[in-house]
């Protein structure tokens, strides 16, 4: 954990990132109705939304921290924990479920040694599920970052992961 933090967010660039977030807030005129857009942008800048970032946003927007964290926790897209270098999203939409999506989740859990929502020790992968990534015709599907893998079977997992 410490390793990721020190490599990704040294205190200098941390400030730089907060400055960028401040710019985004200005761009959205600090309007509470733009909170979700601001959080999207902030997560892109900072990678995730830990409490101190939430506090920073709340202060900058002149709203309470509970308002910000209430929104952050409501939406699954926002993450309060640091994420791995790559996010693996296994589709568990209906189409993928009936064609064996669950086996992929089980396979990945075994290979990576983590549960859903967790990040590997080396900070490389975060494992999550999605509900339909729009590739139902290619079920079961999974996505690593922005790349979609189609018709995956558990035997293919090792070789897919080895590319990262």
């Amino acid at each position: 954990m410490n390793e990721i933090q020190s490599s990704n967010c040294c205190s200098d660039c941390g400030n730089d990132q907060l400055e960028q977030i401040a710019n985004v807030i200005d761009l959205y005129q600090a309007k509470p109705s733009n909170l979700i857009q601001i959080l999207h942008a902030s997560q892109q800048i900072y990678g995730y939304l830990p409490l101190d970032v939430q506090e920073f946003i709340a202060q900058k927007m002149n709203i309470s921290v509970s308002e910000v964290s209430g929104v952050v926790t409501f939406y699954s897209f926002f993450s309060t924990k640091p994420r791995g270098e790559h996010t693996i999203l296994v589709c568990m939409g209906t189409a993928c479920y009936v064609r064996g999506g669950k086996k992929l989740v089980e396979g990945l859990q075994k290979i990576l040694g983590i549960n859903l929502g967790e990040t590997t020790q080396d900070g490389k992968f975060t494992l999550e599920i999605a509900r339909c990534i729009g590739a139902c015709g290619l079920a079961p599907a999974m996505m690593i970052d922005k790349v979609v893998y189609k018709s995956v079977n558990p035997n293919k997992l090792e070789s897919i992961l080895s590319k990262y």
Partner: protein, 597 residues
């Protein structure tokens, strides 16, 4: 599409994009240049053709040649053979799964024969990133007609007459909705496009936005004119990056062409559109939750009335419609309500787009006239069940819908008929299942989804669905009792009657419909401790057939818990106590000696 002799259409939808369709397009362009043909043959990256499973797709126009599973390195052959010499590249043609014959063009493919493409009319046909292509297909002429020749109330009347109903799930008459919004007076009104598409297993809205974004923009402007709104918002899932990109490009182009902004077509009507991003909460597809989310808050539903048409975004009258609903509007205005009215059934007009998925040969996005039967969809368009297995059930309506059986294969599909048989249209997910699906597990799958997505605001949904899930879990583990079955049914009814929003009110449907249609399977789980589909792990046993087993030891060597015993060349035995049901042995046995019972 005028000045070119030939067009090469490459699918740029999400599915095909994942299989390098961008590279294919680039290789085709380069290849044409090498031959000096770039002014005669045009390469167009389109939206989804619907036939994603066999992607990437390349279609050659005008002869409709349909190449499937094309690779970037196939580009050269397509150009040298097809474009230059006029000979089809037969090895890339689609092969009919039934008679194993190659099909020369898309007009003769079972998948397309029974389809009628209205909402998807431009998907897979035009370049979604080029407004001029949309315009050359009569794009924005409906908006011009409305602004130039029709009064707002005439527009509303036309939509009412067409009989169009909302495609987002509820099926509310669109014209009536517009009439109500038009009748509520305020200094500001809003038009909202619901592109949250939360049904896990449906992707029609995404395909429309990726393949034909201008049709939605044009429709929203028409909607604005009809109800007196100058502002439009699209609420779109952040998980749809490609759709967002295409929509943003389209908005920019529409502004440049003066089709959005001030004084459109010199009519004095102003209209513009902004995007709002969803953040992964299914309940935000519900319109009141969606409005709260657009206002920057937690997306919790609120009681209706007030309806959005009375008090919506920023407390102003707001008209919310679904993406597919909007995609129908321009063509209705252009061709007239009467034309649209002739398609479909008495109370459900037009077509519906379905995401056909599951254990079926042709998986993909289809658009069919209302009134078509499930049999036609599954066996003619879908090409039948995969690997020659037996049809068991089809699920429509996603987490709000139900499972239908072979008894319903000949029911004409429309809003009312689906409700009458215990399911619903929903947004258009259609998942076909064969005997390898367990119906109790399917019900549990949907309940798991509901439990995860319940916003927690009201207790019938928050607690009730959790209880339903627990009971189902108990049954799939082999610990259920017959009393549990009654409890499931009773609790389901209570949740339906008392939940605050549509999510809770419909969430027990998958349970009720599977109990109704697959009662025996529930009883088997409870009394015989058996799962006939072999899905519920706790009820399964791995067994070696001593006759078929040759004693190769492959299974024993691969069992992670050493549950398999036996001498070389002698039949092996699996210890049921030790076995953790991982399935590794079955995969390793080359002699088919291991089975699940």
């Amino acid at each position: 599409m005028a000045k070119f002799k030939m067009h090469l259409l490459i699918c740029g939808g999400t599915g095909c994009n994942a299989s390098q369709s961008q590279e294919i397009a680039q290789n085709l362009k380069n290849g044409l240049k090498d031959k000096g043909l770039e002014n005669e043959v045009q390469v167009i990256l389109t939206g989804c053709f619907g036939f994603c499973e066999k992607g990437p797709i390349v279609k050659v126009m005008p002869d409709n040649t349909f190449y499937t599973e094309v690779k970037p390195e196939d580009a050269r052959e397509i150009i040298e053979e097809h474009v230059v010499k006029g000979r089809k590249v037969t090895r890339l043609l689609y092969v009919d799964p039934e008679n194993k014959q190659q099909v020369a063009d898309s007009k003769h493919m079972g998948f397309y024969k029974k389809q009628l493409r209205i909402a998807l009319r431009n998907c897979g046909f035009i370049d979604p990133e080029n407004i001029e292509e949309y315009i050359s297909e009569d794009g924005y002429s409906a908006l011009a007609k409305c602004l130039g020749e029709m009064k707002p109330e005439e527009v509303v009347k036309e939509i009412k007459l067409s009989g169009l109903r909302g495609r987002g799930g509820g099926g509310f008459p669109t014209g009536l909705k517009w009439e109500i919004a038009a009748g509520n007076h305020a200094d500001q009104k809003y038009v909202v496009c619901n592109a949250d598409e939360g049904d896990p297993g449906a992707f029609m809205d995404r395909s429309i936005l990726e393949g034909d974004p201008h049709s939605v923009i044009e429709a929203m402007a028409i909607n604005g004119y009809a109800i007196g709104a100058t502002k439009g918002l699209v609420y779109i899932r952040a998980e749809y990056p490609l759709a967002i990109k295409r929509l943003l490009t389209a908005l920019e182009q529409a502004r440049t062409f003066g089709l959005l902004g001030k004084d459109i077509f010199g009519s004095g009507f102003d209209f513009d559109i902004e995007l709002r991003y969803g953040a992964g909460a299914f309940v935000c597809g519900e319109e009141t939750a969606l409005i709260h989310s657009m206002e920057g808050m937690r997306g919790e539903p609120t009681f209706k009335p007030p309806f959005p048409a009375q008090e919506g975004y920023n407390k102003k009258p707001t008209n919310v419609n679904n993406v597919e609903t909007y995609a129908n509007i321009p063509i209705i205005i252009n061709k007239g309500a009467e034309w649209f009215n002739k398609i479909g059934t008495e109370k459900s007009k037009g077509t519906k787009v379905f995401a056909l998925a599951g254990q079926i040969n042709n998986v993909g996005l289809i658009e069919v006239p209302m009134g078509i039967t499930l049999r036609e969809i599954i066996y003619e368009i879908g090409g039948g069940i995969k690997d020659g297995r037996q049809f068991k059930a089809v699920q429509t309506g996603g987490p709000s819908g139900g499972c239908l059986t072979s008894a319903h294969l000949d029911t004409p599909i429309d809003y009312d008929n689906l409700i009458a048989v215990g399911s619903m249209m929903g947004s258009g997910g259609m998942v076909v299942m064969d005997e390898t699906s367990c119906m109790v597990a399917i019900a549990k799958f949907y309940l798991e989804f509901t439990v995860e997505e319940s916003c927690g605001k009201c207790s019938p949904c928050r607690i009730g669905n959790k209880r339903l899930y627990e009971i189902l879990e108990k049954i799939t583990k082999g610990n259920g009792t017959m009393e549990d079955l009654d409890n499931l049914a009773n609790l389901s009814r209570v949740i339906k009657d008392t939940a605050l929003c549509g999510l809770g009110q419909t969430s027990p449907n998958p349970v009720l419909s599977t109990i109704e249609n697959f009662y025996d399977e529930y009883v088997e789980h409870i009394k015989d401790k058996k799962c006939r589909a072999g899905v519920c792990k706790s009820l399964m046993q791995y067994v070696v057939d001593p006759v078929a087993c040759v004693g190769c030891t492959a299974c024993a060597r691969n069992c992670p818990v050493n549950a398999i015993q036996g001498e070389k060349k002698m039949p092996h035995v699996i210890s049921t106590e030790l076995c953790i049901k991982c399935g590794a042995c079955i995969e390793k046995c080359k002699f088919g000696a291991i089975s699940i019972q």
